[in-house]
Symmetry: C2
Subunit: 330 residues, 2 copies
């Protein structure tokens, strides 16, 4: 009896369906990192796509069409940011019911284009097709690694610190607010209009003491596990160091939620999580703060005392957002 | 009152949602041709995607999962073939219900990989996500234009002949057979396992007397209109010259269908339709036949006596396959 997709989860599924696929030396990074890195014409091309489906990633009740377009573009751009790349081009594939109003799609494309054009990204193609029921949007972004330099998920070393941009958990709390009809403008904006950290990622990729990076999409705790190089390294996250936004604290208090848990598991933060050499990290953080207004915070350290991710040295079971296994774990 | 998507059709929809998008000189061909052509690192990159949705492009009743994977890969590869490019990499985005069996998806990926690997194309990334009801697959293919040479849709000249590879109409008849439960193996194979004309396209793109090309996906008659450079040129298709497969003739006779109409409007042929200088076309066709077993046939000519597409000089109203407006016109 074959297993169902929702019994094995997204990562096992990807492993099952891609394990027999061939590769070539032109592929520097293939399936498994935030985006593919391809050696083309002696340069490094970055390619990523992000597929958003109505009912799973958004609903027409809680998001305006401009928000939906913005967010799917943000998710795909964030994968380029996670490698430290510069986005160049985009392809947009869209399915929708024939009964949808054209004006609705125009607004969706406007949201998408508004974000893409902030980074000079040009939509060069795509596909439009009818679907019986739901809107689906797949955004492919093609970029380049400047100077052929990019940051992988693997590469963290014992003694590195773990640092993060921005304030995780706001997007997860924003989703909670939208689902429960609560007023929380800063949080719902974080959920509906996330900011891909393109410039920050590009800057970090040029620091020789930055060893590994990814973007937080499934929840900080779960995604940190990818930096721990499963089976090789441990990470200790210091919950007290987590940069919790005042709006998140306030919202959590008002609604009986744990802000730390939201920051660790909320998902869709699209912040950059990275490993920095501990000896030189302070300099780098200072230089970052000179350059950007985006917060940057050390929230933990890499260790060889255990493998996997712990909270203040204690084992923890903090779920993340797996589209196939569950919704937001809260 | 805003119009609905199914009131304006796919081409008007694309125009509406893309008209305000910016471009850059790096984009040699953007939205509107078979695939995008990008100037990257002084080379020409080709990018295309094709989105297939259950219920619109396939049903689990009439296609095996291997067929579904094969066909969506074929559609995307065919766009690269239409420019005369070489495919290199692919990204596969997939949405499906959580209740789907993993083994089903494995077979779908195997069908996809079987075709891609025939052309040395490597799957380098993608996205998997849950959808409440339907399977959706978006396949992006990245390729290159060898020697920076490629064929656009525009470029046909008065005096050119119109030629086509293969035998159009078999796929459309195959769909008819599947929908009506008729036995017609050659036709259903043409529908379920189309062959993208990658090598043929590459060869044609190196002929200086080939002026314009596309792949037939919406029906020969409708797609020919794109080569006529709307408002500029006329095309005269000679129905008697159409290369009708014996299996198509036989099937049409048995079921009261018109084989010529099927060849003109069937859709999803994925054959190459192109403009060749009339003075040197015979030489090129002979050389093609030396190289390939794929049929190649002159089926019409370009003219400045009218604009648009006619059949043996007569105006005709032959519908094509527009996903939003209708199904197969038959």
């Amino acid at each position: 009896m074959s297993k169902r997709v929702d019994e094995i989860g997204e990562f096992n599924l990807i492993d099952r369906i891609t394990r027999f696929l061939p590769s070539t030396p032109m592929v520097l990074e293939g399936v498994g990192d935030d985006c593919a890195v391809l050696r083309v014409f002696d340069h490094h091309l970055l390619v990523s796509c992000d597929f958003s489906v109505e009912g799973t990633h958004f609903t027409r009740d809680t998001a305006q069409p401009e928000d939906i377009g913005w967010k799917v573009a943000a998710a795909s751009l964030s994968d380029i940011a996670a490698m430290g790349g510069s986005p160049l081009f985009s392809l947009v594939s869209l399915s929708c019911p024939g009964s949808l109003e054209v004006a609705y799609l125009e607004k969706l494309y406007q949201g998408l284009s508004n974000l893409l054009s902030r980074f000079g990204v040009v939509v060069v193609g795509g596909d439009t097709t009818r679907s019986e029921a739901l809107i689906g949007i797949d955004v492919t972004v093609i970029g380049e690694a400047s100077g052929n330099r990019f940051l992988r998920r693997r590469g963290a070393q014992v003694g590195d610190v773990l640092a993060i941009t921005g304030r995780p958990g706001m997007s997860g709390a924003g989703l909670h607010a939208l689902q429960h009809g609560h007023e929380a403008p800063a949080l719902t904006a974080a959920h509906l209009r996330p900011k891909p950290r393109i410039l920050e990622g590009l800057w970090l990729s040029t620091r020789p003491n930055a060893h590994a990076m990814l973007d937080v999409s499934d929840g900080l705790f779960q995604d940190a596990g990818h930096l721990a190089r499963p089976g090789h390294l441990g990470i200790d996250i210091h919950p007290k160091s987590l940069p919790i936004a005042p709006e998140l604290t306030e919202y959590a208090e008002a609604h009986g939620l744990d802000p730390i848990r939201l920051a660790l598991t909320g998902g869709e933060d699209f912040e950059l999580l990275f490993a920095l050499d501990a000896n030189t990290s302070e300099e780098t953080l200072d230089a970052f703060r000179q350059e950007f207004r985006t917060p940057i915070t050390v929230i933990g350290a890499f260790t060889d005392e255990w493998t996997g991710v712990r909270l203040a040295g204690e084992e923890a079971e903090a779920g993340g957002f797996d589209q196939f296994l569950s919704g937001l774990s809260d």
